[in-house]
């Protein structure tokens, strides 16, 4: 896999006094100032509705700011759909809680969707993919450990395998940034750990800036480097995973930590 960070800035994200207010009045993001350096592995936590998804989706333009700035690699994220936004999104891979694969297509086709931004439209419309891009797709599948499933229909896979395909799709983009929106929320505990390990490994080996939304606090502590806590759209915590305490989590959530906030139930005390 070719190195993606030739440019020192590749994968840098910055929010400046960013605000998002939804049409129905709900505040999704409030005066966010945040800087993320290339290659960082950031876990974002907060209770439901705290603005975790809003933050992620602001990075690739799926949510637009009401005011303020959000920049990727020093350039403003375009507010309107169009070529510029598509160019930006090519560099940003997204992983979803519900996997979002095209069920009827094969794993290979699903991963190739990650290359859509890089191949001329006329070729992709006719399903004529260049060998080079097929190679990239295969390498992505190898990196998540399921190259043998390449020609299987996506709907025939287990949840964990489908999420791996989702990760492979993002990897196929050869992105500078990966956004993972609650990637393990639909998975069983064993698979959850496997996927989190995959994400950490990819971040270390390829240097891709990774932002992960999690609602399980023990996972955040175990796998995160830097932890960001959101509450009602505001940044209330920004620190290292090594030093975060249960009290910090309580502040972020605004309440006591309960069993539902942890994956392994034995880990909760009192």
């Amino acid at each position: 896999m070719t190195e993606t960070s030739n440019n020192q800035n590749a994968g840098a994200i910055r929010f400046g006094k960013a605000n998002i207010v939804y049409p129905n009045g709900v505040v999704g993001m409030k005066d966010l100032d945040l800087e993320i350096k290339p290659g960082e592995f950031v876990v974002i936590v907060g209770s439901s509705g705290a603005g975790k998804s809003t933050l992620l989706r602001a990075v690739n333009g799926l949510n637009t700011l009401t005011s303020g700035r959000v920049e990727v690699n020093g350039e403003q994220v375009p507010r309107k759909d169009g070529r510029e936004l598509r160019q930006l999104r090519k560099q940003i891979g997204m992983i979803f809680q519900d996997f979002r694969l095209v069920k009827r297509l094969t794993v290979m086709s699903n991963v190739l969707i990650g290359r859509l931004g890089h191949v001329p439209s006329w070729r992709t419309l006719l399903n004529l993919w260049p060998t080079e891009d097929r190679e990239i797709a295969i390498k992505a599948l190898e990196r998540v450990g399921i190259p043998d499933k390449a020609w299987i229909k996506a709907s025939d896979l287990s949840g964990g395998q489908q999420q791996r395909v989702g990760i492979a799709r993002a990897l196929a983009q050869e992105p500078a940034i990966i956004l993972a929106d609650e990637p393990v929320a639909s998975l069983d505990p064993v698979t959850t750990h496997q996927i989190m390990q995959d994400l950490v490994r990819i971040n270390r080996e390829l240097g891709i800036t990774t932002l992960v939304n999690l609602h399980f606090l023990d996972l955040a502590r175990e796998y995160g480097e830097r932890i960001i806590g959101l509450r009602f759209g505001e940044l209330v915590y920004d620190g290292s995973a090594d030093t975060v305490t249960d009290k910090d989590f309580e502040d972020i959530y605004g309440r006591e930590v309960s069993k539902d906030d942890v994956l392994d139930e034995e880990a909760v005390d009192g």
Binding site: N60, L62, R86, Q87, L88, R89, K90, Q91, I92, G93, M94, F96, D98, R100, L101, V102, K103, R104, L105, S109, I113, G114, L116, G117, H118, S121, T124, L125, R169, A170, Q173
Partner: protein
């Protein structure tokens, strides 16, 4: 005390009774309006029975000679009409989906509602003076009329899909067109093709009828034989039509089931 419990609460006359009463009234009014009399009611079965005798035995020689070509023509008309409608309705169905193209969809839905409003035979009345008598006019009429229905059904299928993969494609830098090709089409194609096949089954019946206004097919032959009261020939027309339509229904139905289950 017990008697109270056994009587239904409220009035004895519910809305169901009222509705039946109204419908019966409408029915009787209609009968009177078209000058239906008990006499006619007695004569109808007698006349029908009389006619039935004249239909037997069916003139199958005429059947092979004159009817089969006409049935073939009806099939061809239905086929071309359905193909035209299928090709035109696919992009229209995509653009007519509120979930994908909220602004354009309203216009598309309006156009399809207009096209749907016309029975094929009325469209044929307009097409015949334009391209002349014959099956070509029939195929065009069926094509336009079917586009309306197929667009509406197709748009409904598109609106019912999982939108997640579409967003995933766009989040990775794909354009909307590519999202249509890779996230929408794979989800909707089997169901839409099934709709095309069912439309073909219906169009066979429609094309059979168009012959009555000179737009080709079996209808004209039937009309002829009936006008001249060559009822044994008409019988041949009916028998062959029934057999062919049944056969096509069965084959098309089987294919449809296989596609939906793929």
């Amino acid at each position: 005390m017990t008697e109270r419990v056994l009587t239904a609460p409220g009035g004895r006359v519910g809305w169901a009774t009222w509705t039946t009463f109204i419908i019966a009234a409408l029915f009787l009014i209609s009968l009177w309006a078209i000058e239906f009399s008990p006499q006619i009611m007695l004569q109808v079965p007698a006349k029908v029975a009389e006619d039935l005798k004249a239909y037997y035995p069916p003139d199958m020689a005429y059947g092979w000679e004159a009817v089969l070509p006409a049935i073939v023509e009806s099939i061809q008309i239905a086929w071309v009409g359905t193909i035209i409608a299928a090709i035109l309705s696919l992009p229209l169905a995509l653009f007519g989906a509120r979930t994908l193209f909220p602004r354009v969809a309203r216009i598309v839905k309006f156009i399809s509602a207009t096209a749907r409003a016309f029975p094929e035979i009325l469209l044929a009345i307009y097409f015949v003076p334009i391209v002349g008598l014959g099956p070509f006019a029939g195929a065009l009429a069926i094509g336009i009329s079917s586009v309306g229905m197929l667009t509406k059904l197709g748009a409904e299928v598109v609106e019912s899909i999982d939108f997640g993969p579409v967003e995933a494609v766009e989040a990775s830098g794909g354009s909307r067109i590519l999202a249509l090709r890779y996230a929408v089409l794979p989800q909707v194609l089997p169901e839409i093709v099934a709709h095309w096949l069912f439309r073909f089954e219906l169009n066979i019946r429609a094309s059979a009828v168009l012959g009555v206004v000179g737009a080709g097919g079996v209808g004209g032959v039937l009309l002829n034989t009936l006008s001249y009261r060559h009822l044994e020939k008409a019988a041949a027309v009916l028998i062959l039509t029934i057999i062919v339509v049944l056969a096509i229904d069965m084959i098309s139905g089987a294919i449809r089931r296989r596609i939906i289950n793929s």
